[in-house]
């Protein structure tokens, strides 16, 4: 099945390359004529260059864009949706939507720059645990008048899961190396929102994670010895540093992969390793977290 899907998509991808090359060639010629026309102060050449540029853009819009959109949709339906549905049953996949910046801000777990983008929102359930995942990119674009540069605060997958334990306070676990978090631990944070550092009895866990919480006892309730072991195992499985947050009875799992997954490449041929395996890894990121932490255990509630 995988081979059939890949072959079909590969044909579509190959068919996209000629329009790109032709459109690009037209635009390059247009650009050369435009620059050359300016150099020679030849108005006719400039005008022809501009006309050619318009033709090139129209060609892109008519011959390339619709095909590319169809290819992307086919890719996402037959690879992303199919792989997720194979693992989770019925899911909802909104490729152009994601978590809102306000939602991330409301958690108070991350520093937010002035650029934010989120897409590939997938909603589903696994072993009774409802989840949502989305690709998230948080950047800060800075300029000093002479030069400008962009700092990436976070790029990766953000997953929210319903918790099987009820909690009333926020808690944040930051793996060593995960940057640009918001800890809310300073004296300038409102006392009711303030988090403080807490250490657990597992030295290795304390070395790998830093925990900020609003209530010590709830921290020990949520982060049991089993959870500590499970989280250490989990970080060995996923590719990237993680931050786990507990907020409003939702568990937020941010994995900094540094890549925008679930997107087809135009220039390289489709392969199982490059196109299907990463989607399977996205699935594993969710299932192994739920499995390792035994989140399906339904013994909690009603006593908090």
């Amino acid at each position: 099945m995988n081979n059939d899907v890949l072959s079909s998509l590969e044909r579509e991808r190959s068919a996209l390359i000629p329009p790109v090359l032709i459109g690009s060639a037209i635009c390059v010629v247009a650009f050369i004529m435009f620059i050359g026309g300016i150099g020679m102060q030849n108005f006719g050449t400039i005008l022809f260059g501009l006309l050619l540029a318009v033709i090139g853009i129209l060609y892109f819009m008519l011959a390339y864009s619709p095909k590319h959109k169809a290819y992307e949709k086919h890719y996402k339906d037959s690879i992303v949706t199919a792989t997720f549905e194979e693992a989770f049953g019925k899911i909802s996949y909104l490729a152009d939507e994601g978590f809102s910046k306000d939602m991330i801000r409301e958690t108070g777990f991350m520093q937010l720059g002035n650029r934010y983008h989120s897409e590939d929102l997938i909603t589903g359930a696994y072993n009774g645990i409802r989840f949502q995942r989305s690709d998230v990119l948080i950047q800060d674009h800075r300029s000093n008048g002479k030069s400008s540069y962009t700092v990436t605060y976070f790029q990766g997958r953000w997953i929210t899961m319903s918790s099987n334990k009820h909690f009333n306070f926020d808690l944040q676990l930051i793996q060593a190396g995960f940057g640009y978090t918001q800890k809310k631990s300073s004296i300038f944070t409102r006392a009711t929102d303030r988090r403080h550092k807490v250490e657990f009895e597992n030295e290795e866990f304390n070395n790998r994670f830093t925990c900020y919480c609003q209530n010590d006892q709830e921290a020990f309730y949520l982060i049991t010895p089993h959870i500590m072991e499970a989280l250490m195992n989990y970080t060995a499985l996923v590719n990237g540093k993680v931050m786990i947050g507990f907020h409003n009875n939702l568990i937020h799992l941010a994995v900094e992969t540094g890549t925008d997954t679930l997107e087809p490449s135009l220039w390289s041929p489709l392969t199982y390793e490059k196109d299907i395996l990463p989607v399977k890894n996205e699935v594993t990121a969710i299932t192994s977290f739920i499995n390792q932490l035994h989140m399906e255990r339904n013994i909690f509630g009603g006593t908090n």
Binding site: E199, D216, Q217, F220, N298, G302, T303
Partner: protein, 182 residues
Amino acid sequence: MLTAIITIVVIVILIGLWWITTMNGLRRLQVKIQEAISGIDVALTKRYDTLTKMVEVAKSYAKFEKETILETVKLRQGMSMSERNNAMATMDEARQGLNILAENYPQLHANENFKSLQLSIMDVEEHLAAARRAYNANVSQLNQRIIMFPTSLVANGCGIMAEPFFEAESTKREDVKMDLNI
């Protein structure tokens, strides 16, 4: 001469600041320990209440002798750690007895109320374990700090003593012994 006086004054001020900061840190740990103790007490009370409810349900199905054991548990404010340990060990025994009883009486095992109480007590026990771990973590921090020099000077000066740990349940540390003569 003036330089020497200023140096001494600065050193005294620095020592004073260090003393106050260290004392506050130790006091903060003591407060955290008290918070954890109250968490343990809340969880113990909840556990006792839930066990009592389970016994009530069990009594309608079978004669439950462990009921009398549960009656010996005395929960009160200001208990010592060893009293809390004893209360917990007694409750462990009653809980074990209830589990065995449920295994021997399928009707009790199938009772919805009993099943819900069983789930409830598991959650209560998670809270109890969390409170105990929080207490022990804070006690460990305090005990480590007050034996270290020079913090030990501040601890002795302020009368801050080492606190006892809340031991893990003895029944959990021993091999499981099945008592089928209930």
